[in-house]
Amino acid sequence: MGSLFRSEEMALCQLFLQSESAYTCVSELGELGLVQFRDLNPDVNAFQRKFVNEVRRCDEMERKLRYLEREIRKDGIPVLDTGENPEAPIPKEMIDLEVKFEKLENELKEVNSNAEALKRNYLELTELKHILKKTQVFFDEAMYPPNLPYDQDVYFDDDERVNLLTDSSLHHLKHIGFVAGVILRERIPAFERMLWRACRGNVFLRQAEIEDPLEDPTTGEQVYKSVFIIFFQGDHLKMRVKKICEGFRATMYPCPEAPADRREMAMGVKTRLDDLNTVLSQTQDHRHRVLVSAARNIRAWMMKVWKIKSIYHTLNMFNLDVIQNGLIAECWIPVANLEDVQLALRRGTEKSGSLPAILNRMNTPEAPPTFHRTNKFTKAFQTLIDSYGVATYREINPAPYTIITFPFLFAIMFGDLGHGMIMALFGAWMVWREKPLSAKKTDNEIWNIFFGGRYIIFLMGLFSMYTGLVYNDVFSKSINIFGSSWHGNAYNDSTILENKELTLDPGDTKQYDQYPYPFGLDPMWQISNNKINFFNSYKMKISIIFGIVHMLFGVILSVWNHRFFNRPLNIYCEFIPQLIFLTFLFVYLILLVFHKWVWYGAGGDSSVSPNCAPSILITFINMVLVKPYQEKSEGDKCSPYMFAGQFGIQRFLLIVALFCVPWMLCAKPFFLHRANKRRQLVMQANGGEGVIEEGGAEAAAAAVGTEEQHDMSEVMIHQGIHTIEYVLGSVSHTASYLRLWALSLAHAQLSEVLWGMVLRIGLIAGGKGGGIVMYLIFAIWASLTVAILVLMEGLSAFLHTLRLHWVEFQSKFYGGTGYAFVPFAFETILDQAENTVVEQ
């Protein structure tokens, strides 16, 4: 049997590593990814482990690299992902890396702080520039109050020669001081109010907005500011005004009174600004260059650091062998890969040039981890099974069968050629574009789930197309390929005109061809009124039949487990009565269904006519309730029985099936009890012959006796639970499979509603606007189809078929008490580390 049918054989091995080669060997094993190490120091604190310093150094390096990455991302430089997988560097190289990162970090920090100082300077100069410009405005308004008519010529002529404080209008105010500055625009109203209150209205504030936003040096965001100028008289007010300005964090600038001075200052500011601009751009260039050169290697560095850290974490799990100056490790290795592990170890020891590592296989009663070797296709189905419970070590794995039964049971519930095609195309697209889509790492949970299950979705779509063909359902319409077996020829015009409803008679050869539609359901049913009756009986029967076949398959799988684990007792005391119970009752039910399909029909003998066909459900109930034999009444052509001897056969089947229950319940405990007794006798006999102290034999026997009684009660309880679960389960699980019918009916009805109430309106709409109406209606119909019928119904059917597998199928044979094999592999570690980075 291939490896997927049963989990791999695992071996617990002890590894002796020399101190020099330990690092390289673990690195090689990490690349191989087939070894699961056990933590030999579980009670040791993380801070007391041997290699805690190295781990700390790795954390430091990671922090520096993350800082670099943030800066690179801030500047929008693309990080090159060559897809290369660098090897973990040796400890000597680690020091080189540390030095390099330290240097880069310091350089970047220095550049950043320089840039900040320069930007602050730049901001001050810009604000000063705006102040010098805006005070012109104040001056103009002081010269020409708004309510006086403006004389254009005078306006342009005099501004050069007039002071900020002209004598003409303000000559009676002496010793007027002023303060000019810049403040955030949002703070102006509060600033004004504060000034008014504090100075009792004795100061005069003018303000003008600066149109362009200025860059705040620390945060880097753009803020809007305004220029203000405050006029006051006296030192007292000056102090107050200055204090208020400081409180509101307004920056004040010295503004000269004379316009000539102002102009000179403005020119000086301009030259300084230009110089600063050049210096700033050069600083930014330098920073950009540093970051670009770092961006080229940053991915490789990150991977190296992650690998080093994981190697040291693993080394922390080892025991120190003081005598031989080496490290001891315990690990689980699949037996099939022991050779590969030996080769990896040899490579590691060759690299570091020391004595070879020793691999010892150990025997242990402990349960090994469960390892299923999967590829990208089978991985998804294995995940489905493992979500319920990881298989017990070396028991039968349901996953290879699930590859087909899961999409198939889904398809029975989803059967529609149109919706199946949508699903299959979606799955096919994801499979076709696997590589580029998986390279894109997103933290969008829903997309990751869909993409992880791309093969499942693809198969579900394909099978749904097949069942859609058989159900003859394409977006709730049927397709007539072969020609219907039903015909309306037998009715003449008057019959048609007089009767609103006409039912075709299967007995009449003119109305029914006597041969069914070759592939799938006849298209005539889709346009009939009583199609629900027909579909119900059909779908219920197929649900029950597939359910019983699925469960029977599960029961039969348990034989392989019993044979592998060498438990013949289970075969005779559990498997055989289970099989007989299921077969004699439920496979008989299936046979009744087949018999009725073949035997009863219209157009034949009256005893097998449709009105004589007995209900299988009633027959089955009568069988189980042990109803007495029903005599056929006089003159009644119909018999309640389908074939001769049915009553007798049913009685026999029922009795044998009922007998299986005590068989399941008592046989195994009885045999175990007998085996215990025999062992006890053997032990007593040995005890008498051997040299044992007097009370020893009795004590041993007494101990065995209590232990055995304890075991027996446990065995009885366990067996009782198992029997009740199986017997009750066989009925309830069989009925549970009727969900296949229920969901299929719901899907068909929803599909019909969407067509009849949405799309039909568009199809019927005529006239000039009909095309536009159809266009809009189609959009609505299509989005509802995808959202409700494909997504919602698909999810619902997925869940139901998952439940059918987990509960109804696996309860017949599956243990599921194992734990998964999690090897030390760089691939998984790097993936996890990258995903946490993406989430950030």
Binding site: T503, P516, G601
Partner: protein, 112 residues
């Protein structure tokens, strides 16, 4: 039996080839066992599904109930036993009486 030999033979033959013949020609490799199981399961489940549908329709116990307008449509579209001149020339009075069945016409679904 209401079974026809050709459909049964063709479908059974197809799935028999998929489920019984193909597993023997699966190339050797680590996935041989799984591929064989996949082929066999696909063939058996799909064939059984088709068979159940076929057998259910072999000897139907009742027939489809149709609107009279649907019967007319079927006679015209599928059976070809009705031509349009039949309606107009034979029963001129029927034109008025079909209006009585107009309300049913709007709910007829057409299959194509």
């Amino acid at each position: 039996m209401g079974a026809d030999a050709i459909p049964v033979g063709v479908v059974t033959g197809f799935w028999a080839v998929v489920g019984i013949v193909f597993p023997f020609i699966v190339p050797k490799g680590p996935n041989r066992g799984v591929t064989q199981v996949v082929l066999a399961l696909t063939a058996s489940t799909c064939w059984l599904f088709w068979l159940l549908c076929y057998m259910h329709q072999m000897n139907p116990l009742f027939g489809p109930q149709l609107h009279n307008t649907t019967v007319l449509a079927i006679q015209y579209l599928w059976d070809g036993s009705l031509t349009l001149d039949n309606l107009t020339t034979e029963n001129p009075s029927s034109v008025s009486s079909t209006s009585a069945t107009d309300d049913s016409f709007s709910t007829t679904e057409t299959a194509f």
